[in-house]
Amino acid sequence: MSEESVKKESQPAKAPERVYGVGHKLIGKDYPTPDLYAKVTGLAKYAEDYHADGMLFCKLLLSPLPHARVKHIDTRAALAMPGVKAILMADELPPPADSLTDNGTVIKANLKSERALTMEPLYQGEPILAVAAVDELTAAEAIEQIRIDFEPLPFVIDPLETLRPGGPNPRLEGNIWVQAPAPSAAPGAPPPNPPPPTIGELKWTKEDFANAKEGQLPMGKVPGEWSYGDLDPGFKNAALVLDETFVTPDTSHQTLETRTAMAYWQNGKVHVFTGTQSTAQTVPAIARWLNIDPSNVVLISEYTGGGFGSKITGGVTLVIPALLSKKVNAPVMMRISREEETFIGRARPSLMGRMKVGFSKEGRVIALDMFVISNNGPYDANGDVPSSGRIVSLLYQCEAMRWRGATILTNTPPRSAQSSPGGMQGIAIMEPIIAKAARKLGLDQVAIRRINCPEGKAPVGPVMKSDGKRPHATSAFLKEALDRGAEQFKWNERVARTPKRSGTKVRGVGVSLSCYVGGSIGFDGLLVITPEGRVRFQSGIGNLGTEAVMDVHRAGAEVLGVPWEKCDITWGDTAKNFPYTCVSGGSQTTHAMTRAAYATAMDAKKKLQEIAAKSLGGKPENYEVANERVFRKGGGAGMTLGQAAAKAIQLGGVYDGHEPSADLNKLTKASMAALAGQGLIAAAKDNYPRDGQTYSYVASFAEVEVDVETGKYYIVDFLAYADVGSVIHPRALGGQVLGRSVLGMGHTLGQKWVYDPHYGAMLSTRFYQNKPPTILDVPVNMQWAALDIPDPETPVGARGVGEPPVGGGCASILNALSDALGDEIFRRAPVNADTILTSLEAGRPMQHPLMAHI
C-alpha cells in the first residue's frame, strides 16, 4: 500500500511489514503465482466454465422430507417431454467399491454411507433422482412432471431429542455409529482393517435429563472416553471450579463455487470436470464411487472455487453427471444451485459441550472434565468430537483431563470437516471459560494463557496403546507468538484504557489461543528437468486458493538453485501425470508436500551430480548444483541443467524415469512411466523422520465495540500472530491466517442454520438468512504476523496453516464480548444483537443455552 493511502486512513496503520525467509532466495518471499494472470482476466476455468459439444444439463429432484421412503415414482410424463434425455435413479448407482490400502489390505465399503441418490432420503434436500435434458429449463420442467409419493418416517433435527428415552431415531437402525474392532491378524499377514461401522442406538435415561439443571447439557452414557491424570485431586485442590455449558453453530462451508460437475466418457475413460481440494487423490475417490479402475478416471480441476474441507476429494454427487453421461452417451453438466449446495454442500457439525474445569489460583488448568456431543447429520461420523478433546488437551496443557463424547446422527445435511474440525468448536467452548476464570481469579488474560499454553514438544491427547505414552507435538512456540502478539496489539494499553463505556458504547478486548494439526508425512514428489533447462514440477495438489499447489515447489526450486522464472508447474489435470500427493485437508499440504518437494529436489540434485560425474569425471560429491548448472566444486568443468537433462535421456534408467525407486507409490511410478524419457526425472518419497505430531498455533487478539441500546457490535481491531514454522509465501500465508480467522469470526458473528422443527426443513437457505460475514463485518484493517521459526522436525521447517487460526477468530471475539458485557450475558455462539439486547435487559442469558440457531 502506498504511503499516501496509508496516511489518509483514520484506522490504525498496519504494522511495518516483517521480512520473512531471511537467508533464502525463494522461501519466505512473495511472488505472483503462475495462475494469477488467468484468474484476473477471467480466463481461469472452473468446472462450470467448461463446455463440450452436445452437452446436456441435469437437474436434481430433492427430498422435501427430512426422512422418508419413496413409495412410488412415476417419470413417464417427464420422459415423454421433448428434450428430456434420461433420468437417473438410486438403483442405477454402482455399489460402492471396497478400497485397497497401500499394504494390500481391504477396507470394506460401508453400505450405509452416503450415495449420490437415494430412495430413503435422510435429510430434507437429499437428491432422489436426476434428469438430463437439452437445457436446464426443460430439465426443471421435467422434474415438475414427476409424480413422487413419500412415506414419512420418524425424524430428528436436534441430537438431544434422539437421546431422550423413546426419542425418534434418524435412521431406521438407530442414531449412532458403532465401530467393531478389527479382527486379529493372521500370522505373517498385515493387520486387517476393522469392518465397516454399523448403526446402533444410544438413549439416555430420564434421570440423565433430570440431573441437568436448567440450561445445562445433560450427560448420559457416551461411547467415546479417554483420560489421563487424576481429576479428583485437581478439582479438590482447585482455587476455582467452573462448570459451563456451551453451544456452537452448524455452519455451511458455502464455497462460492458450488460442487458443480461436468462429465463425459471417451475411449472408455470418464473425464470429470469439478472443483476439488486434492487433484491426485480425487481420482481414487471417483473410481470407488463409480466402482471402476482408477486408471479409467481423468479428473480436470485446474481451479477450485473454495473448499474449506467440503471438497477434500470432490463430492459424491459428481457421479451423477458421470453416470448420466454414460447412459445417454453425451457430456452432461450438473450445475449445483446455491440452495442445493446448502443441502449437499457439507457443513461443520455443531457441538454442545459441558466443561468442568479446575483452576489453580495462578490460573493453571489442573483438571478438566470435558463432555461433548455433535450434531453429525445422517451419514459418516465426523471426527469433530474426538478432535475437540485432543486440541483442548494440547492447547491448555491440562494437567489431568477426561474427555467424553458422542457423535449423534440426525436428519440434517451431511457434515464434513470444516477448517479446524473439532478444534474450532473445542476452542470456542474452552476459551470463554478461560476468560471467565481469569476475571474470577484476577489474572490478566494473556498471562493465564501464557501459563497454560503448550511449549516445545508438548504432550497431546490420551496415552497411546502402542507405547503407553502420551504423544507429543513436534514443536510449539506459541508463547512467543502470544508475547509478540500482545506487544503488537498493545494489549496492555488497551486493557488499561478507561472508561470501558462511553455513551451507549462499551469496548472489550479478547485474546484466544488457537491451534490445529499442521501436517502429514510420507508422500512423493516428481519433477522433470527438460533439455531446454527448465524445471517442471508435477503438482498433484488441488488449486483451491491456498496457493500450496505452487508454493511448496518453491522449496524444490530453492534447493536446486533455479530461478523461479525457469520453473513451470503442471497442475489440475490427472492426465498430466502427478505423484502420490496428500489430500489438501487438515492443513497438511504445506508440511507434507514441502517435505516431498525437498526430497525430490535432493533426488534431482543427486542425479545431476551423478550425471556430471559420469560426463565430466570425478565423484558425484565433487559437484555442486547452483545457478542452473552442475559444476565441479571450487570452479572448473560443469554443465547446464539442460545439458544434464539431455544426458539423462541418453543414460536412461534411473535418470530419465525408466527405473523408479522402489519406495515410491504406484501412482508416482505410473506417472513416471508416462513421463519417462522427457528429461531428467526426479522423484522421491518423503522418508524424513519426524518426532511427534505436527501442529500449528495462532494467538488471536480482538477488540469489539458494543452498542448497548441496539445490541449491535463491531469488531474494531484484530491481530492473528501465527506459529506455523518457516514462512513459505508470506502473502498467501497472510491470506490464510486472516481468511481463516474470519471464517472463525463468522461463527460468532451470526452464521447459522435455522430449522423448522415441525417439518424438519431448513429455513435459512439464502445468504441473507444464514449470514456468511461480509467485508463490512470485519475490521477495515486487520493485522497478521508469523514467527517464522522453523519446525525442527521437517527439512523446510514449514507447517500447515489453514485450520489453526479458525478457533482463535471465533473465540477472541467471544472473549472481547464477555470483557465488554460480562460473563453471564451469554454462553454461546453465535452472538447477535438479539442475544445481547435481551440478555442486557434481563441481566442474564435469555436465549436457550443449547439452542445455537434462532
Binding site: M1, S2, E4, S5, K8, E9, Q11, D30, P32, T33, L36, Y37, K39, V40, T41, G42, L43, A44, Y46, E48, H51, P82, G83, V134, D135, L137, E141, T255, L256, E257, Y303, G305, G306, R335, R338, L544, G545, T546, E547, H729, R731, A732, G734, G735, Q736, L738, G739, R740, V742, L743, G746, F767, T774, I775, L776, V778, V780, N781, M782, W784
Partner: protein
C-alpha cells in the same frame, strides 16, 4: 408521446385478452425508443411448455466489451447466462444466482450490476463490460487487475471477477477512496475464502495504479 392517444385507441380495440403486435410496435415507436432488432417486442403466443432450446428465442445484438455480439436469447434469460453460455465469456461467475454474492458483477453503462439478475433483453441498447473486456486488446492489464497481481489478492478467486468489476465501477465514482470507502464500494461482493483484508489491499493498490496511470 405524441401518438399516445392514437395508441390508446388501438389498444382499446384489441380483444381484451390478447395483445396486438402491430399496436404494440406502434406504441414502442411512439415512445421514441429506437428499435434495434425484431426482438424488441414479442408476440403474444404462449411459450409455456415450449422450453426447447430455440423455441421462443430471439436473435439479439448486445454490446459486450466494445463488440456487437449476436445471440439467441430467451425472454427469461439472464445476462449472466447469455454471457457464459451463449457468448463464451465464462469469467463472469455464478455463485448464487440470487443477487447475493456478487460473483456475476458486470458493468452496464459503467454501473456495477449483478448479471444474474438482469434479463439480457433489458440491456439491448446498453454497454456491457465483463472481466474479459478489462485488459487492453494487446493484453495490458487494467490497473485494478495489476493491483491484484501485485498484492496476490484473493485466494480461490471465484469471486475475483465480480470484485474487480465492482471496484472498477466504484472507482469511476470515487477514484481516491479510503480503505473504508472502498470496502463499502465492493460490499456487494462475498468472498468465502474471506480474504477481505488482502482483497482490500489489492484493490487499494489497483486504485493507486489507476490514479498513477491517469496522471501519466
Amino acid at each position: 408521446m405524441g401518438d399516445s392517444d392514437d395508441n390508446d385507441h388501438k389498444l382499446n380495440e384489441a380483444p381484451p385478452t390478447t395483445i396486438s403486435r402491430r399496436d404494440l410496435i406502434k406504441g414502442v415507436i411512439a415512445g421514441g425508443v429506437t428499435v434495434s432488432s425484431a426482438s424488441y417486442l414479442f408476440r403474444a403466443t404462449s411459450l409455456l411448455g415450449q422450453s426447447g432450446q430455440s423455441t421462443g428465442e430471439r436473435l439479439l445484438t448486445i454490446n459486450v466489451n466494445g463488440q456487437l455480439r449476436r445471440a439467441d436469447v430467451m425472454r427469461q434469460e439472464t445476462l449472466a447466462w447469455t454471457l457464459r453460455h451463449k457468448l463464451g465469456l465464462t469469467g463472469t461467475k455464478l455463485g448464487c444466482d440470487r443477487a447475493e454474492c456478487g460473483s456475476c458483477t458486470v458493468l452496464i453503462n459503467d454501473i456495477p450490476h449483478y448479471a444474474c439478475s438482469v434479463l439480457t433483453h433489458m440491456v439491448r441498447d446498453r454497454k456491457v463490460l465483463t472481466i474479459e473486456g478489462l485488459a487492453s486488446p494487446e493484453g495490458k492489464l487494467h490497473p485494478v487487475q495489476q493491483g491484484v497481481i501485485d498484492e496476490q489478492g484473493f485466494q480461490c478467486a471465484f469471486c475475483m471477477p465480480g470484485f474487480i468489476m465492482a471496484s472498477v465501477g466504484f472507482l469511476k465514482t470515487n477514484p481516491n477512496p479510503t480503505r473504508g470507502e472502498l470496502a463499502f464500494g465492493v460490499s456487494g461482493n462475498l468472498c468465502r475464502c474471506q480474504d477481505y483484508d488482502k482483497i482490500l489491499t489489492a484493490l487499494m493498490r489497483g486504485a493507486e495504479n489507476m490514479r498513477r496511470a491517469s496522471n501519466v
